[in-house]
Symmetry: C2
Amino acid sequence: MADDRPIRRTLRIAEVAKLAGVSTATVSRALTDPGKLRPKTLALVEEAVRRTGYTPNLAARSLRARRSMVVLVVVPDIGNPFFADVLRGVEEALSAAGYGLLIGNLGPGAHKPAQVLDIVQAGQVDGVLLLNGNVPRDAERSLDRMDVPLVAICEAIPGVTFPQVEVQNREAARQAAELLIGLGHRRVAYLSGPAGNILEAERFGGFCEGLAAAGIAGPVARYRGDFTFAAGGAAAEEFLRAAERPTAVFAANDEMAIGFLKTVRAAGIAVPEALSIVGFDGIAFADYVEPMLTTFRQPRRALGNEGARLLVEAMGGHPSTARVRMPVELLVRASTGPLLG
Amino acid sequence: MADDRPIRRTLRIAEVAKLAGVSTATVSRALTDPGKLRPKTLALVEEAVRRTGYTPNLAARSLRARRSMVVLVVVPDIGNPFFADVLRGVEEALSAAGYGLLIGNLGPGAHKPAQVLDIVQAGQVDGVLLLNGNVPRDAERSLDRMDVPLVAICEAIPGVTFPQVEVQNREAARQAAELLIGLGHRRVAYLSGPAGNILEAERFGGFCEGLAAAGIAGPVARYRGDFTFAAGGAAAEEFLRAAERPTAVFAANDEMAIGFLKTVRAAGIAVPEALSIVGFDGIAFADYVEPMLTTFRQPRRALGNEGARLLVEAMGGHPSTARVRMPVELLVRASTGPLLG
DNA sequence: CTGAAAGCGCTTACAG
DNA sequence: CTGAAAGCGCTTACAG
């Protein structure tokens, strides 16, 4: 039978100590550094903890020990499935190391950089994981001048010295060019992400390199996008209006590739017979559009895991300047094919 | 020119008080309850805060004030885009009320219920938002016996008294039946979510009711699923093997509907000519499959907003037993059509 | 290996 | 309206 009395939330370390017949210092040690105690003493405390169901008050612990065991994760958009997957990896690694996860959503209508800075300045977190491609700052403050470990993942941040984990964007984009060229395409277009975005710059740069290596000056068109489905549709409208259309498109992410695909097919363009399309990211949906999308699968969970791991090390006093660049996997599907006619 | 010195993290309230020429009590009041101060005194403090860039230490504040201004959000799977969208709404409302957001991921390989209970017992959060359809408990403890405000959203929890926010699952499922019947279908199938899931039960129940109202005994087939793409594909295999196939399928969510759609189309089944498909949720991707999926759009962000709002009220000492049931919107698309032949 | 005691940085009755 | 002071519940030098 379960006991139906509400659990007393105000159980303190002193009561556990009393029950175990030791000092509060000993209880504290049993909980944070059991190796320091005699096995016999430890057993006494453990039994008392078990019997009382004691859990230390974290505010008190964090005030006294000057660490919170919480990490702030700054995401550009918590609603984006790409980041959700990365967060899964982050959560896994942090939770295994005993850290909690505070989410800072730097998207439109959400947190402002100042709020992120406040959280750090308030001593609320022991480290910050940045998925947003820049160092949060306001008029007076900048996160990298606060004394807190930082790690950037997914989107690299140029010119900083803290660890970063990203994928081989440039190499992959180059590979996209090679794939299309190998299929006979020469009039290729590029569907870009938001201007100023580092991923965008890397992917565009790599794509151009790949083209150049085959003696192609560059894409015949560069459509402006912002990583959304809608941007893909808009780019497709532009494509459809062109006098001489490209025969292949490389989109800087899957959402845009899918938006593009839908609009051109609705207009009667056969994919891949008349147009090849390549995306980037390898989101789950890429498997369910028709035709299945050729794309690059990012190791989203591994990105999150590795970033969290580096942050845990830094918080433990082992900072690094590691710059990890993980490979992506090209998935050749039905949305790309040889140039016909 | 920005000042490049690292920000001193150890600025305390005493220094601000000294600079303003007041007591620490006054600084504290200026920050938490400015109405209590004379405008002149308040201005003095504000100027000192501005000049020093002071941010109170939250561990100290939370230890002394006995509240943390942080909410624990328990999600079944942080990687699921559906929840990510709801979280966006939650984050919005909580952040506007000054609360932070701690994520507890109760998915496989992530947090265990015991960890959630520990967080609450440690006084780390002022309230808990449950998106997982049950009350976390372990061998000795149950969250609803801890003295903390609770609100359930998305998945209702039977038999509890705290506020809940869900959608009109039963009504919508009934409407799905009516839609299909109106199109002439009588041999309809149901693709279910995981057994024991409350959403699943409501949607199945409503669907059966809708059929019954038209004199149909029930679905001719009930495929077992678990809300994943893969489950949809597996159900489709079962569908394809049937001697006499249903002419319409209602899936308990969009992912399964999309998985089903892909597999039957690959097998040469024309949708909607030979088979109508209805999903549930209205995820973004439902707009990008071919044919576009008929589904019910859930107000994901609004669900999150409303749930967070109720929790903020409860944490402010205004508990309610509100049970909000938000409407969903039927989106009739190309995946449903009249029975032909 | 263990304990007594100071103190982390706030908030809040209490008093005036 | 404001201040002096106690105290939230821990951890950790320090001493033994």
